[in-house]
Symmetry: C2
Subunit: 155 residues, 2 copies
């Protein structure tokens, strides 16, 4: 089990994402970890991440689901190859599609817990399912199709 | 044709959303307008809204699609009732589900244009389709199921 967050192993040139890049000082800087066969990310919204007062806005939920899924996809590929996440070459995934179902308003004064599972790995594609909880209540569900970043996009 | 943005007509107690509330000083404060039977929102990303350097992160795209769609849903209901958006009672929509397909990386140094159409109005539900363009190239597509906010959530 890797005690570092997935995102802490991203190479510096891929660590600028607003959602998950450790080098983006304006961003969310989410941290994701293995817990058994699930991956977990806990995030505390800021008071201004609101939709209607008291509740989290849906765009934040979508963002967290998105970036936790791309991190999970990378972690799953490293695990499949039985090598640590800071080994080379790196895996980095982009989102091809994102589907979020909002079951109920998500209270903003709580720690959001995202728990993800890998549904499918096929070639360069990894499909991830995420449930988002607030105060142990499932508030949203996401399914994310990620694809390994094409070489010609590397920066 | 209403020359004010949809969001400028939201009542103050519903104008705090990070994506679209005119009273959220930290937020995106998007503005949406009718153009014929489509609604349009133009948004300039900040440099830090990045995924990998040079491109917009997917969470921002999801957020813009989300809030432009709830605004479009409200506008469509007012139009259906043939009354201005600042008339009472207000319509305010929440997102039940959000599906975004990312076709290609979205360049960050451009004005993003979101163009939406109402696919269906049925009771309290409005389904909205959104295409997102950068430099006239379609980079993402969204389909959003919105529902009218329940009375017991009113703040």
């Amino acid at each position: 089990m890797n005690i570092n967050a997935f995102q802490d192993s991203y190479p510096n040139d891929l660590a600028h994402c607003y959602g998950c890049g450790s080098l983006n000082e304006h961003g969310h800087q989410i941290k994701s970890y293995w817990e058994g066969d699930e991956t977990v990310c806990r995030f505390t919204p800021k008071p201004y991440h609101t939709a209607i007062p008291g509740y989290v806005y849906g765009g934040l939920i979508a963002s967290l689901i998105d970036c936790h899924s791309t991190g999970t996809a990378a972690a799953a590929m490293f695990r499949k190859e039985n090598r640590p996440m800071d080994s080379l070459p790196p895996f980095r995934f982009l989102t091809a599609s994102l589907k979020v179902d909002y079951f109920k308003p998500t209270p903003i004064d709580s720690v959001l817990e995202l728990r993800a599972k890998v549904l499918e790995i096929k070639g360069r594609k990894v499909v991830v399912e995420v449930n988002l909880f607030a105060e142990n209540v499932k508030c949203a569900h996401g399914e994310v199709v990620t694809v390994q970043m094409p070489d010609d996009l590397k920066v």
